[in-house]
Amino acid sequence: MDYIDFTQLHPVRKAIVGVRRGIIGFPKTVGQFFGAIRRGIAGFFRGIGRLIAETVAAFVHGDFRTRLSFLILGLGNAFRGQIVRGLLFFLCEIGYIAYMVLFGSSFLAKIGTLGTETQQKVFDETEGIYIYTRGDNSMQILLFSVLSILLTLLFIGVYLWNIRSAYRSQQLQEQEKPLPTFRQDLHSLLDSRYHVTLLTPPVVLVTLFTILPLIFMVLIAFTNFDKDHQPPGNLFTWIGLDNFSAMFGGNEQLGYTFLNLLLWTFVWALFSTFSNYIFGMILALLINKKGIRFKKFWRTVFIITIAVPQFVSLMLMSQLLADEGAVNVLLRELGWISESVPFLTNGTMAKITVLVINMWVGIPYSMLITTGILLNIPEDMYESARIDGAGPVTAFFKITLPYMLFVTTPYLITQFVNNINNFNVIYLLTRGGPLTLDYYKAGQTDLLVTWLYKQTVEEQNYNLAGVIGVIVFIITATFSLIVYNSSASAKKEEEFQ
């Protein structure tokens, strides 16, 4: 089928063809993804090469003022009348040197060993008391070293920019063109370089609160920072890949726990995403069925449960479903059971319970989202399906579902990834329990993320948490990058405007 045929199809048929194509083309998409990564890395190094070449060219062709700014930042600009710009470069240099001398270098120097001197208790003769000497603190060394490295990278960036700026001013002067004044620079930040203005604050925030901690935790995965090595009393150090090899084979219990939790995480994510989605859609269809009155009322009833803060409803649910909780009392009074149903205390039962409760939490939400799109499916499709003898069930699977899947792919992916990282539902309902001795400090409903949380906050096995985090991160990142970049909405980005 060529493109012309495709465009002439009915929207719903188009959707079906689209979904089929997406599935058939998936291996190719994966291939493209890794190709793109390779190209990205190659491009990165080419970029660095170009930068170096430019810098060398600036040194070779630059006059003494440009060359001076290799040593004292901003001098090249300041000499040519761009005083404020030059001053700002100079301040960056002063700030960086001050930071390194006063703070950064003392940590950076110890990054190889992560500290050697533990805190000691010494008897102070003059005061007559025990005092603690200030030993090294591996964690601070690592954290502030990472911070210093990031700042150094930033400074290198500023440094290269300074040289470029000095050389550019020189060239402009040689061509006898006017140099941009500081006022003009500021104006360009609101227009031609508006993206710099818009992106700087978020980039700073994200670097400090996400990227820096991310690097830190990834590095922790290569150390022995566990509950026996808590600084400053005990220091930790680099141990290479030992944590990873323990996870994948070295330690049988650990590997067993990991594989089982990984499996359960996937089952959970897949099942909870699709059950919420499909049942939410059915609920939306029921409410919007022709001839059903009080649509607004029904919708509001279900929306109330979204509006109640999730932690409230989840904590309530965990109390209601306890062995002595209200649900068991109700069932007993009705005479349906004689002994309590172990909703949250039996492994298999607890897994089913969390899935069902998650539906209770999520269905109204997907009902809300799908309603608007469902109404866009042309009515005549259903009409002709009915004439052809299709019942409502057939119509749902042949018309509604394919169309919706096509239109809401981005939403579904987001939901899937959110569910892999769905901390709240699991932790607030079961705390990962019931616990089992087969697993290493984990319960049967634990997801990888709740296991990670327990390793961090409860057990303080940060190295293990780092390993789990790295793996979860690789899985989710690869998955979502592939799907986002190949999804229709990313490809059609330009067409939309």
Partner: protein
Amino acid sequence: MMKSYRAARRLTNGMVYAILAVLAVLWVLPILYLIVLSLREEPGAYTPYLLPKAYTLDNYTALFTDTALFNYPRWLSNTLFVAVCTCVISTVTILMISYCFSRLRFPSRRRFMNVGLIMGMFPGFMSMIAVYHLLKLVGLDQSLIALILVYSSASCLGYFIAKGFFDTIPRALDEAATIDGANRNQIFWKITLPLSQPIVAYTALTSFIAPFADFIFVSVIMKDNYQNYTIALGLYQMITRENLYRYFTRFCAGAVLIAIPITILFLCMQKYYVEGVTGGSVKG
């Protein structure tokens, strides 16, 4: 023939009403029961009977009078303060990022977007230990400002929905404004934003609600500084094993009190919420 068709239709509609009614009960009952529990006079989490033997409003008044151990009013004002600040900061930043990625074309735009996407996948609390020590370095640990910073920076990465929404606003408008001499800053504030009411409302609503729901970040940042707890963590303290028996009904009262304003807010903003999500995250 006509009659039987109508009869069949009435039958199916009747069934739909029945299903909807059953579902509605299933969905609303736990919430109604929460209200009932909050009015119960007897303490304890579990009772061998369903409906309370006696009703009282004490649980509600105790929230505001018995503040020695659990300072509910203080937590409430903490949460409101954090929520309002986070709402303002993250709404502005999210809209800025989204506009930037949707409308401006600059080198490495795609790379930035992909990095943002990947960073958003990172389970946030894994980074909390590092964040805590960074905050400690600048003397901000256990403070509300720290919470605002952390929430705002976490929300930066949720720009995809707003970007999708901006993508649907015709570019011709920007071009027309450029011809009239507007710079990009003016286009953003005077053209794009006024056209994006639903997504502004959606972003503001979600970032306002976030501090009410989170308790992981708070627990790591605040440690044992009870005075600076937010409502979620505070209520969570009421149903730990030691406190469950004594404070369960008070927990219910506190939960009801917090649920009411959020529910009302949500119902009022519902329209925007749906438009925001469907306009942004979903398109073919």
